[in-house]
Amino acid sequence: MRIRIGALAAILWIAALPAAGQSPPKPPANDDCVACHDATATRPNGRSMAVDATRFEASTHGPMACVDCHADLAKLTEFPHPDKLAKVECGSCHDDVRSKYRDSIHAYGKEIVGLSVAPACADCHGTHDIKPRTDLTSRVYHTRIAETCGSCHTGIKDRFDTSVHAAALKKGDDKAPSCADCHTAHAIQRADTDKWRLDVTAECGSCHAQVVDSFRRTFHGKVTELGFSRVAACADCHGAHNILPASNPASTISKARLVTTCGKCHQGANEQFVKYDPHPNPQDYSRSAVLWWANRFYWVLIPGCFGFFGLHSALWFRRAAQERRRKGGAA
């Protein structure tokens, strides 16, 4: 029964085609587009409107039709088409990315504030030559992404370039963090909010797990773990983009600069003050013998005390219950 209705519908549809008088417009093929958008194609103002077909075909979108993205051209019959085309909507396929981007500071700048320099998809990914981020030539490949972000954030990039992280990336260490590892790729947030300052600790910890563990033992670590940001988190001492090892004199935590760095919050900090260990480990005798002994001491005292009085109470309770039974529940 269902088949018969389907067949009937098909027949009716085919029969209706000539009756409509004209066939629906056939969308232009990629070759049709390239016929105009060849290497020499320019707008009246002289700006190129060439599309490199070879590069496009080598891109991750190579198998797709031009009109898959330039969707408003699919139904157009008159060519050359008008100058102004509808904006390409990457999110019609990349919906998950679109929803992340929408909440980002970049989308806020672009769509709410109307900031012309705020980036949308193409500003970072390119247009006709988009490569997957795993491709060495991609603008967003792990070791190249800093360059892409740095095309706007030049000051940050200059600072990042001096850091231990950038040096590792240059050496080809693909585990070293680049921009997106801390800031994410699409859901980029303002970095000056309390929430961001605290949340990024987890990013640092995704590589420096033990360092964050030891930080969590400190007053700084505990207050920030509670979600209050008045005290130091990672970047307050180590810097954000210009992170350098303490052995480097330019580092914010180098011997020469430590008093200044601690002094940002602790006014009057001196040489004695900065002997504080921001990453203590009571189990590590070589780091601090006194802390090691304090840890030992309390590991004996606390269980000893509770063990002793736990037993004391239990025995007392049992004996008192016996007494009570003997007296027949009186008193």
Binding site: F219, K275, Y276, Y298, L315
Partner: protein
């Protein structure tokens, strides 16, 4: 030969005898209130990974508010203990009061305390009668010295953490690490000790349950004293000093207030203790 016991007059209503003077009771209330406040405002940091930590901190207005309350209570507790130590020294050395630093009325551990402890252990396992305790039993002296020790250690560490820049004039910075560790470990010990051991020994154990009001009203009946402080009772009656200790029975209003304060303290303390147990076993 019978000792010369001077019996108190037999009356229809029980006679009440003084155990704690007003100053001592006030000091206990100060220690109790500040201790609870310190525990409640310090625990969010000590157990910062527990799910209730942030909620508890927010009750005091967040990190800033909790820190402020913690410092105020800490200063009050320190002031209370310093006042007490000064008072003891003044009484002992200026006024020349006898029996404060040594003897049956002293808080200083006596040979009898060790004998009492041994006797109590034997009683626990049914090998002897319960010892005749003096004015302060060995577990009460332990409580007292635990508060003294704890306040000294935690007070010193707390002041270092409160004024680190000032402290760094005489101490190296790594002492802040030690101070924080010791402050936390000692806090865990003190909180656990007070809310489990002291609560049990002083209030929750059979015979005292749900609470002993003597620390709030200041007096106990002669019947209670004869049973619980047999050593003190015998000593005082032999010396004929019992009648001088007779005081008015606490009024219903006084008892009501004592019960209210005691219930509030026990409830808050046990509540905080439950949070710790939850954080530890989770």
């Amino acid at each position: 030969m019978m000792p010369a016991v001077i019996e108190l007059p037999r009356t229809a209503k029980p006679l009440h005898l003084v155990r704690f003077d007003r100053k001592t009771r006030m000091l206990h209330v100060v220690v109790m209130a500040t201790f609870l406040g310190l525990a409640a405002t310090g625990m969010p940091l000590l157990f910062s990974e527990a799910p209730w930590a942030r909620v508890l901190a927010m009750l005091f207005g967040g990190f800033h508010g909790a820190g402020l309350v913690h410092r105020v209570f800490g200063a009050a507790l320190l002031a209370g203990v310093v006042f007490h130590v000064a008072d003891v020294f003044w009484r002992a050395f200026v006024r020349g009061e006898k029996g404060l630093l040594w003897g049956p009325d002293s808080m200083v551990p006596q040979p009898k305390d060790f004998a009492d402890f041994y006797g109590q252990m034997k009683w626990f396992v049914g090998l002897g009668p319960q010892p005749k305790f003096e004015r302060f039993a060995y577990w009460e002296k332990f409580d007292y010295w635990a508060v003294m020790w704890g306040t000294a250690i935690m007070g010193a560490a707390g002041l270092i953490l409160w004024f680190p820049v000032l402290a760094s004039r005489i101490l190296p910075g790594w002492m802040f690490n030690v101070a924080l560790f010791v402050h936390g470990a000692e806090a865990a010990l003190a909180i656990g000790f007070i809310f489990a051991v002291h609560f049990f020994n002083g209030h929750l154990r059979p015979g005292k349950f749900p609470m002993d009001l003597v620390i709030f009203t200041g007096s106990l009946t002669d019947e209670e004293m004869r049973h619980e402080r047999a050593g003190q009772y015998d000593r005082l009656s032999r010396a004929g000093a019992l009648s001088g200790m007779v005081t008015a029975a606490p009024s219903p209003e006084e008892k009501r207030r004592a019960r209210l304060v005691g219930t509030a303290g026990l409830t808050l303390g046990l509540g905080l203790f439950a949070l710790i147990v939850y954080a530890v076993v989770r």
